[in-house]
């Protein structure tokens, strides 16, 4: 029979590599998950460096490579990188806004052996999609991209980032996914780091909205025919999420300039040293890099985590969230109701449930 793959030992090889091949992006979403300090084009890894990294990743035990960004399609060498990863038997996934997807560009990616496409949507209402992405007339381009992806026979996942302003349109999002022939939908509530944290009061849904959203998800699961990955905002949970499946256990992230990160927000944490793939082999970085060892396993944990029977379930939650909300990444994730700083979460929830219409702070980046 078949069972999901779950690594056992703490130093087990990683499973997934998020390859952020660029930070450049034609959209300017207010919940952008990239760091506040972005990497410029001139600092990006070369084609040859990425290929060497993929070889090292495959040798290390990585099974899947997620090409992300920014918008990965701004790199003209993307088909070349995908073909090379494919030749190493790595599963290749493209995470894209779809605005550069045409019949010709898709054909090149298809011929390179691309396995799967995740297409991001901001909303189901065209005007709202424009408002969120800061990109004029974005929705027709995405709909056309989805049509081309399905026409080529590639499996399609639709990604929606949920927030206060669009969460009530989840039924229409599911309907769109079914209409476009997606096999999978990811509906992830905004995670509040970096840019999204600046916009938190304008984005965090109310409790009533979340209860209604869960009912929608349950109904769609019951209908079947669509794989659903629904991520709640952990602010409303009693226990933290097992961020990244545990620090340095399954995932690694390589930034456009080649820094190897345990998660894509890790650069916000002071006191961590991030090795670069141009300086050390990936295996050495994964196993012995200071940033990976710092929070791997349970040794680093303070109370109440250290004596908690869930410490190998949630791995202490999210380090970046602990830093952003308590000022110290070594603290227990304040989402946990056992955290002495849980009041920071309660205050944010109160704010989100009181205020309704707030302006977004947009980000713009193209150089």
């Amino acid at each position: 029979m078949t069972t999901p793959y779950i690594p056992s030992a703490a130093e087990a090889p990683p499973m997934s590599l998020l390859a952020e091949v660029t930070h450049r992006c034609p959209l300017s979403c207010p919940y952008c998950s990239n760091p506040l300090e972005l990497v410029r084009k001139s600092q990006e890894l070369s084609t040859e460096s990425w290929k060497r990294v993929f070889k090292e990743a495959a040798d290390l035990g990585i099974l899947q490579v997620h090409f992300s960004g920014g918008e990965p399609m701004v790199r003209p060498d993307l088909p070349d990188l995908i073909a090379y990863a494919q030749s190493l038997n790595l599963y290749t996934n493209l995470i894209t806004s779809g605005v550069f997807l045409t019949r010709d560009t898709l054909k090149t990616l298809d011929e390179a052996g691309l396995d799967h496409v995740q297409l991001s949507f901001q909303d189901v209402i065209p005007e709202e999609a424009d408002r969120l992405s800061g990109f004029s007339n974005v929705q027709p381009r995405k709909l056309e991209a989805a049509r081309l992806i399905r026409e080529a026979g590639l499996p399609l996942t639709l990604n929606f980032v949920l927030h206060k302003g669009n969460i009530e349109r989840m039924p229409a999002m599911f309907a769109l996914a079914r209409k476009l022939g997606a096999i999978r939908v990811e509906m992830a509530n905004t995670q509040y780091y970096g840019w999204a944290l600046r916009n938190r009061a304008a984005l965090l849904p109310s409790l009533a909205q979340l209860d209604a959203a869960q009912d929608v998800v349950n109904a769609e699961l019951a209908r079947g025919g669509l794989a659903i990955d629904y991520v709640t905002p952990d602010y409303y949970a009693d226990r933290p999420k097992p961020c990244m499946g545990g620090w340095g256990r399954r995932f690694l992230n390589i930034s456009p300039s080649g820094k190897v990160l345990p998660c894509h927000a890790a650069e916000t944490i002071p006191g961590l040293t991030f090795d670069n793939v141009e300086e050390k082999p990936l295996k050495e970085i994964w196993e012995n890099g200071q940033a990976f060892r710092r929070f791997r396993g349970t040794e680093w944990m303070p109370e109440p985590c250290a004596s908690c029977d869930r410490k190998e379930i949630d791995w202490g939650g999210c380090r970046c969230q602990a830093l952003a909300l308590t000022g110290d990444a070594c603290n227990t994730d304040p989402v946990c109701s056992l955290s002495p700083r849980h009041n920071t979460i309660l205050d944010a929830i109160r704010e989100a449930n009181e205020k309704t219409e707030l302006p977004f702070i947009y980000r713009h980046f193209s150089t």
């Binding site: 029979m1 078949t2 899947q64 599963y91 794989a227």
Partner: protein, 90 residues
């Protein structure tokens, strides 16, 4: 319903591959990977869009020198489950 005349193949974006680091057979799928045990891997290696379910069962019965009815039951259950998950299609 899966009958012995059915002919299945891996759906686009899904494949069986040997993990040379962990020494396991795994099924690659969008955003996940499953471990295939020895019997599942032996079965899936025969799934190529050309062999019928009957031919796969016959081949495994010969390889494992086992009771055909037991092999048929296990193989059909496995392939039906993977078809329902979208890993295989016809």
């Amino acid at each position: 319903m899966l009958t012995e005349s059915c002919c299945l193949k891996f759906a686009r974006g899904h494949r069986l591959q040997h993990d040379t680091v962990r020494h396991l057979w795994i099924i690659q799928a969008p955003e996940k990977a499953f471990i295939a045990d020895e019997i599942a891997a032996a079965t899936l290696k025969l799934v190529d869009g050309k062999r019928s379910l009957k031919e796969i069962i016959d081949a495994l019965t010969a390889d494992y020198q086992a009771d055909r009815s037991i092999i048929a039951r296990d193989v059909t259950a496995l392939l039906a489950e993977l078809r329902d998950k979208g890993v295989l299609n016809s």
